[in-house]
């Protein structure tokens, strides 16, 4: 399963989106799709759990969690740094 697929699965469980994450493109704005900032915290925790990573403070911004692509690329960056 690619990072993008895992992120979509996390979003379906925790982001409280108005649609299924499968219906969104990688660049669609998740906040526009219904994710509240409260839900984004749960998304952040679930993404950390799914990939066994921890976001450093500098990545804990609204932009990191604004799209499937931004989340996936942040995850990939952290996985590469850990490798």
């Amino acid at each position: 399963m690619s990072a993008v697929d895992t992120v979509r699965r996390v979003l379906d469980t925790h982001a409280k989106l108005k649609t299924s994450a499968a219906a969104l493109t990688e660049d669609d704005d998740l906040y526009a799709a219904g994710m509240t900032s409260h839900a984004s915290v749960n998304v952040m925790l679930a993404v950390e759990d799914a990939f066994d990573i921890e976001f450093p403070d500098e990545l804990l911004t609204k932009t990191t969690f604004c799209s499937i692509r931004s989340i996936s690329s942040a995850v990939e960056g952290l996985l590469e740094a850990a490798a």
């Binding site: 925790h14 749960n42 925790l45 679930a46 950390e48 759990d49 921890e54």
Partner: protein, 391 residues
């Protein structure tokens, strides 16, 4: 006098922050082992040597880097976060370096000696306490005994932290055999010119790496190793301010490490129960607020000391002395409180000696802060000061 030795260490050209990070990495790597074996953090202190950190507080004219007290405090905090004992050794060493370098009194031989701290990366220790004087470091029983052009010094010291590892030991003593107990001088003794007979070990609850053992010290040094200025002035203008600022900085670093472990623990608990705020999170809010008060306290007194550092009258003034004494007392209480709170947050994971959420070692280290120069003694000294303080 020992002949200057050839300097083999090449100067580490990396920026200060990189050198400090390197030493902190090594300190962290060996912190558990240092604690378990109650041994001197030799690897971290060797790293200070090879990165030039032992001379960093000296002015550039003496071959140092002229670091400010704030810069030294920031390093002390980083090392303290990695290994409490390493941080304390750094703090104690530089308080001794500055006690020498700021009080050379125009002596050429003391200036040359101070320069050797940088060029040879010498480690300095201090022998201020003495058996039989009730723990008051501003009082001595031993005295400087003139033997021709040299002086003999015999002192029964209940504590000389890392004494047997030091290249130079700064020893307090009465000025001569007839001097009053409080008429003290500071004598700089080369390891080569002194013998240390261990009188006790160092097997303690925490800060186990400072190797603060008791010794019978017997030194025979050149008479020009007696710093001419009274120890009373050295103590008030340098030793106390620098010790208290750098100790408080080490404790702040320990507190930061405790808060970081607590934060990681709460985050991991949150990942296990997504959607609900774990119980530790509200405690963590309080803990972070306490850390912020701690940061503000240390920052404030560091800045105030820096601004007064060349104003000897102000440093010796009662207002400042009260504040710098209170810094030691309050900071030592805060680090112990932060440790208790961190343990409450991390629970049994923090209580364990192993595992990524253990706070056990720093918890034990933190309890020592109030006891090393006991807060009760400092508060009693401060109480005497405020009796004569004018509004």
């Amino acid at each position: 006098m020992r002949m200057p030795t050839t300097i083999t260490a090449t100067k580490d050209a990396r920026p200060l922050a990189e050198r400090v990070a390197h030493v902190a990495d090594i300190a962290a790597r060996y912190a558990g082992e240092v604690d378990a074996a109650a041994r001197f953090p030799a690897e971290a202190v060797d790293a200070m040597r090879t990165t030039g950190l032992l001379g960093a507080s000296l002015p550039t004219a003496l071959g140092g880097e002229g670091l400010t007290l704030g810069e030294l405090g920031s390093i002390a905090a980083k090392l303290g976060a990695a290994c409490s004992s390493t941080g304390m050794v750094f703090a104690m060493h530089h308080s001794q370096v500055l006690s020498l370098s700021r009080h050379l009194g125009g002596s050429a031989s003391l200036a040359i000696l101070a320069g050797r701290i940088a060029s040879e990366q010498l480690l300095l220790a201090s022998a201020t306490t003495e058996l039989g004087i009730g723990g008051d470091v501003r009082s001595s029983s031993c005295f400087v005994d003139l033997e021709g052009d040299r002086v003999r010094l015999i002192k029964n010291a209940p504590v000389i932290s890392y004494g047997s590892e030091a290249d130079l030991v700064l020893v307090t003593a009465r000025r001569n055999a007839d001097s009053a107990p409080s008429d003290q001088v500071l004598v700089v003794c080369d390891a080569a010119n002194l013998t240390l007979e261990a009188t006790g070990g160092w097997d303690t609850l925490g800060l186990r790496g400072t190797a603060s053992m008791g010794y019978k010290l017997n030194a025979l040094v050149s008479a020009d190793r007696v710093i001419p200025e009274a120890y009373e002035a050295i103590s008030a203008e340098t030793m106390l301010p620098v010790c208290h600022v750098l100790w408080a900085s080490v404790w702040l670093g320990m507190a930061r490490a405790l808060v970081e472990t607590s934060r990681q623990y709460v985050r991991s608990a949150a990942r296990r129960s997504i959607g609900s705020v774990p119980p530790g999170a509200t405690k963590l809010v309080d803990l972070i607020a306490e850390l912020e008060r701690f940061e503000a306290l240390v920052d404030g007194l560091t800045a105030r000391t820096e601004s007064l550092f060349d104003d000897r009258d102000a440093l010796g003034g009662i207002g400042y002395q009260v504040s710098i004494n209170n810094l030691k007392v309050t900071a030592s209480e805060l680090v112990a409180q932060v440790a208790v709170a961190a343990l409450a947050i991390t629970g049994i994971s923090g209580y364990r000696n192993d595992g990524q959420y253990s706070v056990a070692r720093i918890f034990r280290d933190a309890q020592g802060a109030a006891l090393m120069v006991h807060n009760d003694r400092i508060i009693a000294n401060t109480a005497r000061l405020i009796l004569v303080q004018k509004g």
